[in-house]
């Protein structure tokens, strides 16, 4: 019990900060949605980014379209709640390797969708996930090299709008199955490579916290996976600090080079302080 109370206190500050940020974002996103703010264009998305980048990266130089990183998403998002995004690293252009990748969706209430830390020698040259996109927006991937350089690529996505809202589809099911995990292991595509693919799926509503309780008018607390780490026998492969822009049932598929035959371990922590852990034996790849 004491441990629980301590944890709650520990969480209090970051949660308050998150709410403050969300309230602020809601104020600017929805509060100003008058006639002139029908849908974002590339130019307005870019303006948001210009204001935002200092908050995220300070005054560090960001190199654009150097080929180190590439990001792909559908030009028109089919479902605003589930927009697939693929991030590719070109190892030839980043010989020292990549330390982290930050995924940004300019117009979302919380634009920093996720920051991924890449394990050294983990072989993560491709990472795909699914995000919520609230409006017409650039999706940006900023990769940080081991040497500390920032490289950015971007792609413009037209959110589908209409009936497809970036919300949880089956709320009861989402709560009932929360914390379940699934790991898929895809053997190497080419015979001479050691690189295989992993896909990690976590059941979680990843709620936005942008809904108001109709009686109290308070925002219903956000509830999402905040931290995730994936490792092989305690050797980091990929970790994430994420937010509400990651789709419900967070889903990550990525390249991976195994080191030895140790187990794949996963730990996820959500904003309620719930910890979900799982592990799987590494499947034989036939090498």
């Amino acid at each position: 019990m004491q441990d629980h109370a301590y944890r709650s206190r520990q969480l209090a500050l970051p949660l308050a900060a998150i709410f403050a940020a969300i309230m602020l974002a809601v104020g600017t996103l929805f509060g100003s949605s008058g006639a002139a703010n029908a849908q974002q264009t590339a130019a307005t998305s870019d303006r948001i980014w210009q204001d935002l980048k200092g908050d995220v990266f300070g005054d560090r130089a960001i190199l654009v379209d150097t080929g180190v990183v590439r990001v792909e998403a559908p030009k028109r998002a089919q479902d605003a709640a589930i927009v697939p995004v693929d991030i590719y690293i070109d190892p030839a252009k980043a010989p020292d390797g990549i330390k982290s990748i930050t995924l940004i969706i300019d117009v979302n209430p919380a634009p920093v969708a996720a920051t991924f830390q890449i394990g050294k020698d983990a072989g993560v040259a491709h990472l795909s996930t699914r995000v919520r996109v609230n409006d017409y927006s650039y999706l940006r991937a900023i990769a940080e090299t081991q040497g500390g350089e920032l490289h950015m690529a971007q792609t413009f996505v037209k959110a589908s709008g209409g009936c497809s809202a970036p919300a949880v589809k089956n709320q009861d099911e989402a709560m009932a199955t929360m914390g379940q995990m699934k790991l898929r292991q895809f053997p190497p595509q080419e015979t001479m490579t050691k690189t295989q693919e992993l896909q990690l799926m976590i059941r979680h509503p990843n709620n936005s916290g942008l809904q108001r309780n109709p009686l109290t008018q308070y925002f219903i607390p956000a509830h999402f996976v905040q931290k995730l780490s994936i490792s092989q026998a305690d050797r980091p492969i990929l970790s994430m600090e994420g937010g509400i822009s990651i789709s419900e049932d967070p889903n990550f598929r990525f390249d991976f080079t195994a080191h030895g035959t140790g187990q794949i371990q996963v730990e996820a922590i959500d904003t309620d302080g719930k910890v979900f852990r799982n592990q799987w034996p590494l499947e034989a790849t036939g090498l």
């Binding site: 029908a38 849908q39 605003a80 009936c163 589809k169 709320q171 789709s247």
Partner: protein, 323 residues
């Protein structure tokens, strides 16, 4: 820019008649303006004192005034119940005007079959005439999560003028499982379903004439859209088909239609979609690739296929991956 009352009426009038606002008499109320408008609003008599409006097989737009879904009216000896409020206040007011020609009884209930804008954007008009809004117990939660987004995203799609005055108004009478509404001399049976088209689907059955208002649990002609659970929809298909209806008013499609034959096409589409997606998942095909081909063999059978099939495939993929 703030819009005053007079201006608001003119904006509505402009949208509905497409003539110069200055030509409109300012003294007309909203309902009168809507009734005088260009929206051809025909209530069909589908059974004894049961009426339905058939929406067009299109996406909501300024031109169709949001009138794309089917709406229903059931008249009792004491009161009238309306099934869905339509996609704009103009449509809702046209419906209210049309009901006035059929019956002098008050509209006591507005029943929302689910959360989508083409079924609920007219709610404010019914609140204004004192109707109690009835919905699935999950509907308030779903509207909380989506209301602001709907108001924002539809502004672009249907235009500022048609959006004017539209509010997200949740139901105050909720259906947990089943609920009966007595209109005097006839009882409507409301049934809340588990997640299928959405997680807040409600059907309305008029036992006197055995007419089923299926909401968007039944699509005909226009491609069904998936915003809840494909497996849930398929699992409940038999229970839906078992309803002893003589006819159905689907959410989209011909009014009325034969029952349960009305379910045949959508069931086939869902089975094809599920088959294609399951194969893609088994093959390790990523979502972004799989959605481009899944369900394509159904393309010739549906209106709006290109608008919605990839989206359905996306939703289905994310769900079926957990099987």
């Amino acid at each position: 820019m703030p819009i005053d009352g007079t201006r608001r009426k003119l904006v509505n009038g402009f949208a509905c008649t497409a003539v110069s606002a200055a030509m409109l008499p300012c003294c007309l109320g909203r309902a009168a303006l809507a009734a005088a408008g260009s929206l051809e609003f025909k209530l069909r008599n589908v059974a004894d004192r049961v009426f339905a409006f058939q929406g067009v097989d299109e996406l909501m737009s300024a031109a169709n005034q949001g009138a794309i879904s089917n709406l229903g009216v059931v008249v009792g000896t004491d009161a009238v119940a309306v099934i869905d409020s339509g996609g704009s206040l103009i449509e809702a007011n046209a419906l209210i005007a049309a009901i006035g020609k059929i019956s002098a009884k008050p509209v006591r209930y507005l029943i929302n079959t689910h959360m989508h804008p083409d079924h609920i954007f007219g709610n404010a008009a019914f609140q204004e005439i004192g109707a109690t809004i009835v919905g699935h117990h999950n509907l308030p939660r779903a509207l909380e999560a989506r209301g602001a987004f709907y108001l924002q995203s539809f502004r672009e799609q249907i235009g500022e003028a048609l959006m004017e005055g539209i509010e997200i108004i949740p139901p105050t009478m909720l259906v947990d499982d089943r609920l009966q509404l007595d209109l005097g001399g006839r009882v409507l049976e409301l049934q809340a379903w588990k997640a299928a088209h959405t997680d807040n689907d409600l059907t309305v059955f008029d036992s006197a004439t055995r007419t089923l208002f299926a909401g968007d649990l039944v699509f005909m002609g226009s491609l069904p859209t998936l915003d809840g659970s494909l497996l849930g929809w398929l699992r409940q298909m038999d229970a839906l088909a078992a309803i002893g209806a003589a006819r159905v008013v689907p959410g989209h499609g011909p009014v009325p239609a034969d029952w349960p034959e009305a379910l045949t096409a959508e069931r086939r589409y869902f089975e094809v979609l599920a088959r294609d997606i399951r194969k893609a998942i088994a093959d390790g095909t990523p979502l972004s690739e799989a959605v481009k081909t899944a369900g394509r063999s159904e393309r010739g059978n549906w209106h709006l296929f290109d608008d919605y099939n990839e989206r359905n495939a996306t939703v289905a993929f994310a769900e079926l991956e957990w099987e």
